[in-house]
């Protein structure tokens, strides 16, 4: 099995997704356990892959037995293995926690719902492990098309959000493909490693600059980077609660990962101000997203705009490109996935209990003290309070910004945290002190939801406490050699 570790994170969720409709013919109740088991197996394979990479170095796997650049290769290195673990583990917990909420939303259609969510996970993981630019595009489309359908399944207002998402998502994916076309015209290859070897001889061509710009713009749309985030707030606000819980933590991360991969490991555009531009756009995203989040009255929209702000941190770190900033960006991918998952799961618990989505009506604390407490832990991580994970990722980003001699960008990082204090305070206040609702039903959220939620909150703190080990063993090596 060790030989196949690089492909398993794609193969397992794909086969699991395809089994859903077949098993669904026999029993609809098997869908949820099967989906959680599939995701858990994927997470286990991802963790095994990460340990293997750390022990024995980068793994390259030629699909079909064809050596690159003729065939497509799948690559597990510290960065891709780490990102696989983030996506797979968080998806497992959100699928587990989202179960009761999905049953309420998709009564009778669970096999279809879980098949689509597993296809989404397979698409995201396929993007991450792929070593081929065109292959990334195809996996991106699997993830996108399943997301479109899942968001639209909310009906009513969600349909309008989903159509907008289709249009903007298609523009993003097509720009990416156009960029790939430019680099292909320039070098004749699609393999990332081959491209990295052949590009330095060709940096003078307009195709080089064009290829980078189109790819970066396309990926920026997909990762919801301000000001190209137009699809994100409505999609996350109007998607059904279980869909938002699965999608919001991980969907934009794979695109951010591909951006990092392409910019830092493949193209390395030294002559063009791509990194600097990205860092400043990231700073703008931090501030604008935070300011917009602070004015929302709908809890889901508040969290959606906070995503815009948090993706800004990742873009800023990738754009700065110094060692500490990269470590901070990678760590923030994990930290943000954990806290955003916990917050959307807590919202799903509230919706299940007939509360929300406005802040005024949230009030989890009195009836669901554990759920409320977990939401608060995640909110503290979002602000960047030690020892939560969100503190350390921002700490590294800050170090990076100062090391790069960019005090204004460092100011944006701090300003973003101040804005997070404002919007997360409003959220926390709503969780504990919102308008009381008539009592009825069980006092706490259902058990699977609680288990997943507590695991996410505990992980948020554990990652913070264990950040030194994580950075020196995984993220440091991942950023080594590419940092400026």
């Amino acid at each position: 099995m060790r030989a196949h570790l690089p492909i398993l994170p794609v193969l397992l969720p794909l086969v699991g997704a395809l089994l859903q409709p077949l098993v669904g013919l026999a029993s609809r109740h098997a869908a949820w356990p099967l989906a959680v088991a599939t995701a858990a197996a994927t997470a286990a394979a991802g963790i095994a892959g990460l340990l293997d990479v750390l022990a024995r170095g980068t793994r390259r796997y030629s699909v079909g037995g064809w050596a690159p650049p003729w065939g497509i290769e799948v690559v597990l290195d510290p960065l891709s293995a780490f990102t696989v673990c983030v996506i797979a583990v968080v998806a497992t917990l959100t699928l587990l926690a989202g179960g009761p909420s999905a049953r309420a939303t998709y009564e009778g259609e669970e096999p279809t719902y879980y098949s689509l969510t597993l296809l989404l996970v397979a698409g995201l993981l396929g993007m991450v492990v792929s070593g081929d630019l065109f292959n990334v595009f195809v996996f991106l489309e699997v993830a996108s098309i399943s997301s479109y359908a899942l968001v639209a399944s909310g009906g009513g207002p969600a349909l309008a959000a989903a159509f907008r998402y289709v249009v903007l998502g298609t523009i993003g994916a097509s720009f990416y493909l156009l960029g790939v076309g430019c680099l292909y015209a320039l070098t004749g290859t699609l393999n990332m490693a081959d491209l990295a070897a052949r590009l330095p001889a060709a940096t003078g061509s307009p195709l080089f600059g064009g290829g980078i710009v189109f790819m970066v713009v396309g990926l920026a749309v997909k990762m919801g980077l301000f000001p190209l985030h137009g699809w994100l707030p409505d999609a996350y606000t109007r998607a059904p609660a279980p869909v938002a819980a699965v999608m919001a933590p991980v969907a934009t991360k794979a695109a951010a990962y591909v951006l990092a991969r392409v910019l830092l490991y493949v193209i390395r555009p030294e002559g063009l101000p791509v990194g600097t531009t990205l860092a400043w756009v990231g700073a703008a995203a931090i501030v604008a997203g935070g300011a917009l989040a602070a004015t929302q009255v709908d809890a889901r929209r508040l969290l959606a705009y906070s995503s815009v702000s948090q993706m800004g941190y990742i873009a800023l770190g990738l754009g700065l490109g110094v060692q500490d900033a990269l470590v901070g960006a990678y760590l923030h991918i994990l930290a943000h996935a954990l806290m955003k998952a916990a917050l959307f799961v807590a919202l799903a618990a509230a919706v299940l209990d007939g509360r929300g989505p406005t802040l005024r009506a949230l009030r989890l604390g009195s009836r669901m003290p554990i759920t409320g407490a977990c939401a608060v832990v995640a909110a503290l991580s979002m602000i960047g309070v030690p020892p939560a994970a969100g503190f350390f990722s921002k700490w590294y980003l800050l170090q990076g910004a100062l090391a790069a001699g960019q005090p204004i960008l460092a100011g944006a990082i701090l300003g973003g945290s101040l804005l997070a204090v404002v919007y997360m305070y409003r959220f926390t206040e709503a969780v504990w002190f919102g308008e009381p609702r008539a009592a009825g039903g069980p006092p706490e959220a259902p058990m699977p939801l609680l288990v997943g939620l507590v695991a996410l909150a505990v992980a948020s703190v554990a990652v913070g406490l264990g950040n030194a080990a994580l950075v020196s063993n995984v993220l440091g090596p991942a950023a080594a050699g590419v940092g400026r």
Binding site: L22, G24, G64, G65
Partner: protein, 145 residues
């Protein structure tokens, strides 16, 4: 919406054409190695024969002829056939989708030939079933939503 077409000529024509078109789909599938065409095109042609039926005999015929949940499962089975061919290559000691290691009693190069045929069959099944589902759902009468 799409109603039963009254003309006997059209219905007879479609009745004759449908099996011929389905046969042609099989030809397109099998000869993809040598000429343009392959699993995807074959799947679309196979799926299209059901639109022909719906056009000539009214959309209701799809409800009678197609069990839609089974059709979704068949689509999944087609893609699964593709993936499992790849897994069989792994079982034979190669990497995922390495058809030369398929456990077949032929030379590795011939095994690749057959591997392509297997996966193209999976593609045909997956695409045809999916298209039939698409036509059934998109052409559905206005429901009470």
């Amino acid at each position: 919406m799409i109603e039963r077409h009254a003309s006997v000529v059209v219905q007879t024509f479609v009745r004759v054409l449908t099996p011929l078109a389905q046969l042609f789909a099989l030809y397109v599938l099998a000869f993809g190695h040598y000429s343009p065409g392959g699993g995807f095109q074959a799947g679309v042609i196979l799926g299209a024969t059901y639109i022909l039926l719906a056009l000539a005999f009214g959309r209701d015929i799809l409800d009678r002829k197609v069990n839609q949940p089974v059709c979704v499962a068949l689509g999944a089975a087609g893609v699964l056939l593709y993936a499992l061919t790849g897994v069989a290559g792994m079982a034979g000691g190669g990497t995922f989708l390495d058809y030369s290691r398929l456990p077949l009693p032929v030379t590795p190069v011939r095994a690749r030939y057959f591997g392509i045929l297997f996966i193209e069959t999976g593609v045909t099944l997956g695409v045809a079933a999916t298209l039939i589902i698409l036509f059934c759902r998109l052409g559905e009468q206005e429901s009470n939503r």
